[in-house]
Symmetry: C2
């Protein structure tokens, strides 16, 4: 096990009816800005519950944060917070709204051009407005971590940052609020959580059996519960399990003390920025090819994964590995997420453009061994056509 | 899954050489009281490293906190803190020293007689001194939770309390500091962590597959790594895994959203208070009998435990359950912890006294269904002779 720091101060309020507890965790005298996305919370009752819980409190609203939150749009919210002297953010939505809240929180009091936050990946953040979240879409884990991804549309640049100042103070997770999600968002969410686990697990053995077993536990649970979530959208237990798994997939725990990969995410970010694919779609495309191309470096963990997650324990090693990757890809398809670039209209002609963006973002030595060069990324993309 | 709150703000600094980072996490102008136990940290170099890390800082020392920290002794430390106007506690030792720090932290500014903290189980704590810990003995999980157990010797009362004010601000976990632990303490620590998991896992199914898998992951890892820790005391990876497992066993995570038992601990506490058995010895005695006597109520989870932890998947259900409990008991014995009351000189004549203490401490409706009456505890104790 590697040396590590683990510190996650976010308070989780989990379960049915927990939005009613909002007044206990938002400071009484806060001047709140409620952040939200495309408007679904106005139709599914979530916003009404928020208003009821904050009755008598001071709050304003900023809606329209995009699925991949844009720097340009978030800066409008920063201006609003500054102008109105607001001092607490409440993100109501999925990972994009929470990621947006993190950027706004860090940018409001940032000295200089807030674009530098993204350029420096958050290392220059010295404070942030306090904020909390009400999660309506289980997927990214943003509700219990300090990371955020923001896209600058004008540059087609999707950039990640993190800071110890950017943990939500609290997050409310009510699984009933996910009952009305479109199938596509549930499928995407399960694939996203699955890929988060794989980025922290599918590397090389590091004498960390408990981290491995926690990771495998999340994967097994997503494989069991994901299809049920599509089949019976109002099964509370299923939605609760997926919601808590997605949080645990990226709250720092399973990645503590072990090598991490993240090459799939970095290549995926370029695909979203260039061609507007959903984040999870890019992961479903890239991850299987990434595992195939990098099979030798990941051999020991791929065999462990084949055995413990897919119960593939007999026969030729390479056949077991290949079957485990096949099953991974089939699971993504089962969740309704297509796994080929061609499924989304991206062709061989586009690969050079993707590689150019990776190079311009200095993504030329990716992965747990920093050996995913542009040449490797090219192989991965070609295999994903 | 039940509704739950999860909030654990303790910062973990894990790995070789991390005591050197102490100055980064202890406030620069703090007036520190270093708390310790029987003196081992003076001989194994830990105290020297602490002194080096705090060079130039203001600190005093209070040693001699007992394996089951006594109210009487801890109140001496409370007086010292008050007299010297100290404002930060640093617990250096195992769970007992950290438990002691929690009580001292809560008692220093407590209005009225601090005994009330224990009588009310911490519900009346409104603030606590800040404190951190350097863990030298993996076992109790106190380094990353807000619970504490204190014994009032004069009353032979071992009492637990908890408070949201009583999380360590940080805990430093350096596995190399466990290399010189006596065999008995390693054995006790592994049994303690195992029992902590069982108290949160071995109840009834609650639609919480991820909590189950995390719990099973810790159990499997303790079973694998425990015997290695006895055989090769200076194997870093083994000690690191045990240390992190013991922390994860009781940091709130695996118990979030599921029923919990704790009857074994409550009966065990009386045995320690009356007959001075090590905490883990009491758990090794009581847990197997508790599972045998309460087999029907725990049947579904016992079968799951038999299959997933002990790979017992064929044959008659009762035989599988019995074998799983046998293997559990044999594992405790393998870790060097005897599992019969008679091994410690406690006899049938003592059972009435234990039951009397349980009654006087209102421990007459224990367990996840509150159905562990004194009559059930009597059966458990008789089966443990």
């Amino acid at each position: 096990m590697f040396n590590f720091d683990f510190h996650n101060p976010t308070q989780i309020l989990f379960g049915k009816g927990r939005i009613a507890d909002l007044a206990k965790v938002v400071p009484a005298n806060a001047r709140v800005l409620i952040l939200s996305g495309g408007g679904s919370i106005k139709h599914n009752g979530v916003l009404d519950e928020v208003h009821a819980a904050l009755a008598g409190r001071s709050f304003q609203e900023f809606s329209g944060i995009e699925p991949n939150p844009s720097y340009e749009n978030l800066m409008q919210a920063v201006e609003l917070v500054r102008r109105e002297k607001l001092d607490f953010l409440l993100a109501v939505g999925g990972g994009s709204v929470i990621d947006g809240a993190k950027f706004i929180a860090a940018a409001v009091n940032f000295e200089g051009d807030p674009w530098a936050i993204l350029e420096k990946r958050g290392a220059n953040i010295t404070s942030a407005l306090p904020f909390g979240a009400i999660l309506t879409l289980p997927a990214t884990g943003s509700e219990m971590n300090n990371g955020s991804v923001v896209t600058r549309k004008s540059l087609k640049a999707k950039m990640a940052f993190s800071s110890r100042h950017c943990f939500p103070q609290f997050s409310i997770l009510d699984p009933t609020k996910t009952f009305t999600l479109p199938t596509r968002q549930i499928g995407n969410g399960v694939v996203d959580a699955y890929a988060h686990v794989m980025e922290q697990y599918m590397t090389y053995p590091a004498d960390a059996p408990i981290q491995d077993r926690f990771a495998e536990g999340i994967l097994l649970t997503l494989i069991e519960e994901g299809p049920k979530a599509l089949a019976t959208p109002d099964d509370y237990a299923v939605r609760a399990n997926i919601m808590w798994c997605a949080t645990l997939a990226l709250n720092g725990l399973i990645g503590a003390g072990v090598p991490q990969d993240w090459a799939t995410h970095m290549v995926g970010h370029e695909l979203t920025a260039l061609y507007n694919l959903d984040h999870a779609q890019t992961l479903a495309i890239v991850l299987p090819s990434m595992l195939r191309i990098r099979k030798e470096g990941k051999r020991a963990k791929l065999l462990q994964y084949a055995a413990r997650v897919w119960n593939l324990t007999t026969g030729d090693e390479d056949a077991r590995i290949d079957a485990a990757i096949e099953k991974t890809q089939a699971f993504f398809e089962q969740m309704g997420v297509k796994t080929r670039l061609g499924d989304y209209g991206v062709t061989a002609d586009n690969i050079e453009t993707v590689l150019g963006q990776l190079e311009s973002h200095k993504m030329t030595m990716l992965g747990e061994r920093r050996d995913v060069t542009l040449a490797v990324s090219r192989q991965v993309l070609e295999l994903s056509l």
